[in-house]
C-alpha cells in the first residue's frame, strides 16, 4: 500500500478507513455520503479503471454494500512499478429498506451495465442513471433474486416444477 496515498485519503476525507489487505489490495471503507467524492478523488489520482462494481446483501445488518474495485491502466511499460499493481476496493453501505444510490456513470461510464445488473438482481435504484431497464432476466420477480430473502428452492417449486410434462409418458 502506498503510504502517501493513504495519508492523502485520510487527510482529505472524514470517517475513512484505509486498510492494507495484502496481495496488492487495499480496502477503503467510506460512508455513502462521501463515496462519490472519494471515487472522483481516486480517479484524479490515476485509478482510472473500474474493474468491478458489485453488491453484497447484509440482511442481518439491514444494509446493502456496494463494492467498487479500481485499478490503473498502464499506458507505457516503462512506467510499470510494483505499486501500479495496486487494486483499491472501495466499500460503502446503504440502507436496505429503500436501497438507493447515486449513479457513477458520470465518473466511470463503464459502470452503466454494472448498475443495470445490480438494479435488476438486487433492486438497488441508481439516481441519474439514464437506462435502468431490465438486462438479463425474462421473468418478473417479486423480490430481486440475488437478495438473501429470495427463496430459490421455493420459487423453483412454485414455477418450474408446476409445469407438467407435455406428453403422456405411459402411452
Amino acid at each position: 500500500m502506498n503510504e502517501r496515498l493513504k495519508k492523502e485519503l485520510e487527510s482529505t476525507f472524514k470517517d475513512i478507513l484505509v486498510a492494507d489487505s495484502g496481495d496488492n489490495c487495499a480496502t477503503v471503507t467510506i460512508k455513502y455520503s462521501q463515496a462519490l467524492a472519494v471515487l472522483r478523488f481516486l480517479k484524479d489520482k490515476g485509478f482510472d479503471h473500474l474493474a468491478l462494481l458489485s453488491a453484497v446483501d447484509w440482511i442481518e445488518e439491514k444494509e446493502h454494500e456496494l463494492v467498487y474495485i479500481l485499478t490503473r491502466y498502464i499506458q507505457n511499460i516503462d512506467e510499470y512499478r510494483d505499486e501500479s499493481k495496486l487494486h483499491l476496493i472501495v466499500k460503502t453501505r446503504i440502507p436496505r429498506d429503500e436501497p438507493q444510490f447515486q449513479t457513477i456513470t458520470g465518473i466511470f461510464p463503464i459502470a452503466e451495465p454494472y448498475e443495470r445488473e445490480i438494479h435488476e438482481l438486487f433492486g438497488i435504484k441508481f439516481e441519474g442513471h439514464k437506462r435502468l431497464t431490465p438486462l438479463f432476466l425474462e421473468r418478473g420477480y417479486k423480490i430481486p433474486p440475488f437478495r438473501k430473502d429470495f427463496d430459490t428452492r421455493k420459487y423453483v417449486e412454485e414455477v418450474f416444477d408446476k409445469i407438467p410434462f407435455a406428453e403422456n409418458k405411459d402411452k
Binding site: 432476466l137 425474462e138 420477480y141 433474486p145 429470495f150 418450474f160 409445469i163 410434462f165 407435455a166 406428453e167
Partner: protein, 191 residues
C-alpha cells in the same frame, strides 16, 4: 459403405441419406459447447460420422442442446427448433437439460427441457466426452432406422401442450403457433 445396408438404401433412400448427413446447428447454450469445436475439427473429426455444423437452422436437422438452458435461451431454442426442416432430431447434451443438473434450484434455469421441446435422446454427464457425441450419433442412427426418433412427429401431435408449457415459462409468445391450435385451447389459456 456397409454391404448389408444396401437393401435399406433401396427401401428408404431418403431416410438413409438423412441418417448419414446429420447437419448440426451450431447453437451454443451454456458450457457444453466447449466440447463441440474439438469434435468438428481434426482430432475427433465428426465428418467421419456425417455430422457437420451449419450456420442456420434452415440447413440443419440435428439440434444439440449443449448445457444449461436459461429462460432467455429457451426462447431462442424454441424459435430455432421451429425453423428447422423436418425431419429434425434433438439431442440434449449434458446433465443440465435432463433435469436441471447442478442448477436444479436456480431462479432462472429451465429444468426438464423435454417439457418445452421434444427430445430424441440424451447424453448424460458433466461434461460428456467428445466420444459420447459419436455414441449418441450411432444410437440416433439406430433410432432413425427403427422410426423411434420421432420427436418432430410428437411435437406436431402434442403441440397444444408444448405451446402451453412454453407460455407458462416465457409468458405470451410473440410468434404465431407453428401448427393450428383449436379454439377450445385458446379459451382454456385465457382462463
Amino acid at each position: 459403405m456397409d454391404r448389408n445396408q444396401i437393401t435399406k438404401w433401396f427401401k428408404a433412400p431418403a431416410k438413409m441419406a438423412n441418417k448419414y448427413s446429420l447437419h448440426a446447428i451450431y447453437f451454443c447454450t451454456g458450457c457444453g459447447i466447449i466440447e463441440v469445436p474439438p469434435v468438428i475439427t481434426s482430432r475427433w473429426d465428426a465428418e467421419r460420422f456425417g455430422v457437420i455444423p451449419v450456420a442456420t437452422p434452415r440447413q440443419a436437422n440435428l439440434f444439440l442442446i449443449t448445457g444449461y438452458v436459461s429462460v432467455k435461451t429457451l426462447r431462442a431454442i424454441i424459435r430455432t427448433y421451429e425453423q428447422m426442416y423436418e425431419p429434425k432430431y434433438t439431442v440434449g447434451f449434458g446433465s443440465c437439460p435432463v433435469n436441471g443438473g447442478m442448477y436444479w434450484d436456480s431462479y432462472n434455469t429451465i429444468k426438464h427441457l423435454d417439457k418445452y421441446i421434444p427430445i430424441d435422446g440424451w447424453i448424460a454427464g458433466c461434461m460428456p466426452r467428445p466420444e459420447a457425441i459419436f455414441i449418441a450419433v450411432t444410437h440416433l442412427w439406430t433410432l432413425i432406422d427403427k422410426g423411434m426418433a420421432n420427436g418432430y412427429i410428437r411435437y406436431r401431435e402434442n403441440y397444444k401442450s408444448y405451446r402451453r408449457n412454453q407460455e407458462m415459462a416465457l409468458g405470451k409468445l410473440e410468434w404465431p403457433p407453428l401448427y393450428p391450435i383449436d379454439s377450445n385451447f385458446e379459451e382454456a389459456r385465457r382462463e
